[in-house]
Symmetry: D2
Subunit: 92 residues, 4 copies
């Protein structure tokens, strides 16, 4: 992900937040919180992980395949834009 | 999850492993590893999170709804066993 | 699903709608529609299938495990209600 | 999906099989089969739908973005190949 310099900090920060959310899950288990609460915490980790995944896939497509905003070939640009829309639909 | 005493340690250990897997994702980002490698690491976090989710749901069903192995009512016991099989199918 | 008489018609109707959505996917392929459009149709089938899955799991829990609204044991009733909330969160 | 001529028949055949699997779900509901059996049928529809989704995304990438096997730019070819590997991992 050599191209990431600009966004690297943001992505790593997202990973740290995920680790923090997991800390809350560990505490919830340690403190014998109701299962439903612990499971809702785990569900939010899952949502955040999906969000990180979409962002990483998007970074990869833009930097190593086709960047819809900077691609000279209009058909490829449209194809890449459609692809990113589909990835967001499926991974949200 | 007051019933968890026996298993609490195992569940918390799984959460710690997940945090460790995320540490590898952060390092992969920091070291500008190829996107594909980072995305495969995130996919393995996702798999581990699904595994934790199934285990927590199973704990919840056994301890707060119906435990197939200790339920007096045979229809409820079968219903709970079928439910756990479905949860595993969908969450793997 | 012997208990389904009342709801069977509604569930079968949902399955028929899913078959209809797939007919639209087949037509989209036949008519060489843009991939993005076909993929969005398939995404909506996926969403509808998840909705059907949640409803079937809910039916199963209520009729073969514990029905939160008719369960005498308050702890089991709460456990089943929490379970259904978790299933909706994870399967939406 | 104008490029699909060659594969169109195969993809439409997959959609027909999915419709057939849903017919089995409808029959299972109609015949009051055990919930667990119906839910396992729905799970197999879900698996088949994921398979169709991966194939459609792959078709789209190869024909409208970058085809790893026919791309002149080696970095783009590698990027597209990595992307397809990630899509298979996440959608299986």
């Amino acid at each position: 992900m050599g191209h990431l310099a600009k966004d690297k900090g943001k992505l790593v920060a997202r990973v740290r937040r995920l680790q923090g959310q997991l800390e809350a899950v560990a505490r919830s288990l340690d403190e014998d919180a109701p299962c439903g609460d612990t499971l809702q915490l785990v569900a939010s980790v899952r949502g955040a992980l999906n969000g990180l995944t979409v962002e990483l896939i998007e970074e990869h497509v833009r930097n190593h395949v086709v960047d819809p905003e900077h691609e000279a070939d209009p058909e490829r640009a449209k194809g890449a834009a459609d692809l990113l829309a589909v990835v967001r639909t499926y991974m949200k």
